[in-house]
Symmetry: C2
Subunit: 432 residues, 2 copies
């Protein structure tokens, strides 16, 4: 059966063409943007065309942040009167109310350096978190994990000391001009200050300018704002199980994306792979014993209201999820699966390992499942994350370079084949 | 030690920058071309700068084929008066002596279809081998193996039946406009006819034009020619072993490349990874017990005179090669090693497998070593090929798209780390 799955996806796969539609015909699709609603309609139509047993939209309340038109961050010091940086607002940032903020900057590499500064030193300044990802880590997600907290919490912690803004070095392992956005959070008890990211190359430039002249100034203007919460939707399609229709096997990715680039790897890839699983079940005339459900989640990037909302419905309707698989780590060659569950569940999944080895898929370890499926966690469901090769992921993640052209057709298809294979095996051989 | 190796290569690696020099400052480097001699000087200088125990050039007699300026192949039929294709001469092809060859074309998909044609049918025609690579095969090299014989032997077999030329569908799994070259051979007893490749998209066009009109004509002109054999060089650098200096561990790739594109994945990647191993041995202050030798082979692409010449010298000087590792399958994320040796040797290498798993390197199987190291085979030496992820390789192989920009820095470095790790382990723990 695995051989039939991979033959089919590599020969008849539709996911690369579907990804082209999602990225090129619709484009990026930040939660509550017009494009996000287009993507919902597109996803629903794709699932409906497959004649599944049911397809529906699941309403969820979501945040509504808009970037606005103006994003500009300039550096200047005694040697260089103007350097216009490659920048982006962090998602969720407040804007500058039409004003230009101009201030001196203090560079820190971690919380310790921030905390060593007195409130007097920080007052009225901009904090620059210049923290490169650690290139020595083999999993680039681990390297990301060592930095992403500065993006999320950096503004509040600097604000408490009196800063007027923060900027971070983009979270990437490449030295290039792409700024990478991503979510930041505010605690309502702290004064909200704007947050931005600059490209890794601009980080070197700024750091060097600060070495030349400690009085280097930054000047920036942002027109982003947060509008009232609104309603959006998870898109769901399912094929009823023939023997155990109440036992659900879930496969999903997130339909929303950041609003720079096209959200191709993050997470257009996961969306089209999840749709592809439903296509393959139909194309291979496979009748699952358990119910297989495809969920295209909304709002993973800035709130996870889709994931939380889905779990709430599941609890309300007492749905029994056996296994939930998330694909949200890029459309690269699959290496294996990361299993978040009991030791017994991990062993159950590891039993399948030898079947995957002919497909160069070898990694079966206990680990993290994913953001969207996380809220389902109840001590019973087995959460699984697809683990693709991670070396290139942060070249594109949340950046203008995350476009369709950078997703290889075969790598994307191999990932879909891996997911479909696990769903097939879980349907037949997974004890939970 | 493996951790130190990967830390070093991912943090201080020079291979991506070296590849930039080789691809951008020199460019493609077909055997006997001016650029190939520049590359020899460059490789020698790189190794000399590392202060190895010795660096030398090993002369070998090589073929000298030149593409010339004119390569054109046009299609026409009753509906379409002119379609100019994306084409390339196959390496080693004869030219057309300044003439334009115009003839009708017969499409075949395999030898069986060719042999089913009478000599009368073929006489004066052009044979079009329209044989796509099989997308269902997980290793794209296996898919390539199912087609490459048509490129190499196709002209002779068509010529025997009276054809005046052959064209092949490019050997790639992508539908695009890149023509892919590669070597073809002639048997001197058969009349030599020219061979060309057209892009996969042009193959669809030609095939459709033939369906519309069986009298579709091709018109082509090539100015390539074969000049007399000349002298070129393998570039060799070595670090003497402290305990067993007569036992050699070899690591190598080929310095020559095809003359379209920049030979970035094929095999600039292998060249800079081999050089990187020598850099790491020095940088990590590692004193090998056995002699470690880096060989940058000439003429892998169209004759393998470098590999054959090296083996001849090795035999003449009674050199004892313990293990020879070739890296010539692209600068992609490493998946493992393919071991060409006795069952005992395969087991010896498989013993190391668990040490590589933290680096997502899991594949340790009996299999093919490589073209350059092949002639060393004597029943004693263990031949090993680095196996990177193969999904994207034939997007670039022998094509204009094989350029530096398409090689990811971390993937290239991970490959170099894998090779260095195996060399370290072989130095200390490999019984032969």
């Amino acid at each position: 059966m695995l051989r039939r799955i991979f033959d089919d996806v590599l020969t008849n796969g539709q996911c690369h063409e579907n990804l082209r539609e999602l990225c090129k015909d619709i484009g990026h699709r930040l939660t509550a943007s017009p494009e996000s609603y287009e993507a919902i309609a597109w996803g629903k139509k794709k699932l409906e065309e497959m004649k599944l047993d049911s397809v529906w939209l699941q309403p969820v309340t979501v945040p509504h942040w808009v970037r606005g038109k103006v994003e500009r961050l300039d550096f200047s010091n005694k040697n260089k009167p103007l350097h216009v940086s490659h920048c982006t607002a962090l998602g969720g940032s407040v804007g500058t109310d039409g004003k230009v903020i101009e201030a001196e900057v203090i560079e820190v590499k971690d919380w310790e350096e921030l905390e060593a500064l007195s409130n007097k030193q920080v007052k009225g300044k901009i904090i620059f978190y210049n923290r490169p990802m650690n290139p020595a880590l083999i999993s680039t997600f681990s390297a990301y994990g060592g930095c992403s907290g500065y993006r999320f919490y950096g503004a509040d912690r600097a604000s408490k000391k009196g800063a007027v803004g923060v900027i971070i070095r983009s979270l990437t392992l490449r030295d290039d001009l792409n700024p990478h956005t991503g979510s930041m959070g505010y605690n309502d008890s702290v004064k909200k200050i704007p947050g931005m990211a600059i490209s890794s190359k601009d980080s070197y430039i700024l750091s060097n300018m600060l070495k030349e002249d400690a009085k280097t100034k930054l000047k920036f203007k942002l027109s982003c704002q947060t509008l009232p919460d609104t309603i959006s939707y998870n898109v769901i399609g399912e094929i009823k199980g023939s023997e155990k229709p109440d036992e659900i096997l879930l496969v999903g990715g997130n339909l929303d994306s950041w609003d720079i680039g096209e959200g191709a790897h993050d997470d257009g890839a996961g969306v089209v792979q999840s749709i592809e699983v439903m296509r393959m079940i139909t194309a291979l005339h496979y009748q699952p014993k358990r119910t297989v459900r495809c969920v295209l989640y909304m709002n993973e990037e800035n709130g996870n209201m889709g994931g939380k909302g889905y779990a709430k419905y599941a609890q309300e309707y007492k749905e029994k999820h056996i296994l939930a698989l998330e694909t949200d780590r890029g459309g690269f060659s699959p290496r294996g699966f990361s299993v978040q569950g009991t030791d017994e569940q991990v062993s159950e999944i590891q039993k399948f390992k030898s079947l995957f080895e002919p497909y160069f898929i070898h990694y079966f370890q206990k680990g993290y499942g994913g953001v969207d499926i996380g809220p389902l966690k109840d001590g019973k469901v087995c959460l699984v994350g697809l683990v693709p090769d991670s070396q290139r992921y942060f070249d594109f993640h949340h950046a203008p370079s995350d476009v369709w052209e950078n997703v290889n057709e075969r790598e994307l298809e191999m990932g879909a084949g891996a997911i479909m294979s696990l769903i097939y095996l879980a349907d037949n051989y997974f004890q939970n």
